[in-house]
């Protein structure tokens, strides 16, 4: 029985670095919030989807922008305790009555 050559994974060719034309890049960058918020329609939306499909770097960029927005939306805000709220109400009423 002949020895079989060890299985070698074929290496994928490295992705061709995507070259962004400055004008096009700016145009896409300008629309990314609308894209993330699903407010973009028509050709520019299609253009962005196609672009992201072929550009891992831009896809990462958009993913990090989405994460930023999600974090902002869910960032908890400090709240006043019931005691602090009562104190503030008193301050406001005092200030209103003294004027």
């Amino acid at each position: 029985m002949t020895e079989q050559a060890p299985f070698k994974r074929r290496k994928r060719p490295a992705a061709t670095p995507h070259r962004h034309e400055a004008g096009r890049c700016l145009r896409i960058l300008r629309e990314l919030s609308a894209f993330i918020d699903d407010e973009l329609q028509g050709d520019i939306c299609l253009e962005i989807r196609r672009h992201l499909g072929g550009c891992p770097r831009c896809e990462e960029f958009v993913a990090s922008l989405r994460q930023t927005v999600s974090l902002c939306r869910r960032n908890p805000a400090p709240a006043l305790s019931a005691k602090e709220r009562a104190k503030m109400r008193e301050r406001i009423l005092d200030a209103a009555q003294s004027r």
């Binding site: 670095p17 400055a22 890049c25 700016l26 960058l29 300008r30 990314l32 919030s33 609308a34 770097r57 831009c58 990462e60 960029f61 990090s64 922008l65 994460q67 930023t68 927005v69 999600s70 974090l71 902002c72 939306r73 869910r74 960032n75 908890p76 805000a77 400090p78 709240a79 006043l80 709220r85 503030m88 301050r91 406001i92 200030a95 209103a96 004027r99």
Partner: protein
Amino acid sequence: MYRYASRLCGEADAAKDLVQETFLNAYRGFDKFRGEAQVSTWLYSIASRACLRMRRRRKGAPERELSLEEFIPSSDGEFRLQIPVQGLSPEEALQNKQLRQGLDAAIGKLPKKYKMVLVLRDMEGLSAKEVGAIMGLNERAVKSRLHRARLFVRRELSARGLAEGTHEPDHA
């Protein structure tokens, strides 16, 4: 209102002052309120104007404009800036104190007019139309400022190098 003031001012005492000034101004100006907008919108407007006046009184450096061009990635690294959330949901990620502080610091560095739009839209959950009514802007201007604010926070957050030490939630 305290939640909004706190997000704008970044510290408790200034936020309380802003809340007080807002309600005092609302009380004094209530006879001028025609009911065309919701009371909440009206109060947000008063608070926003009061906040801008507080800033002007402090007389810091004039606030800069954010241009879209400054956010165009110029290197591979800038494309790949990552927010250190490690596959967690936003709520899970925000249990990490370092990330929360990083996010607050990033938002805190925003020039005020961008911060207001980001807070009103993405944190208070108002529509672009409502934000426009509060700030005296059209919707297009609101969306333009919002976008710049988001890009700014993204860059600040990922540049803080929080990738280490974000694995364990830190309840504080």
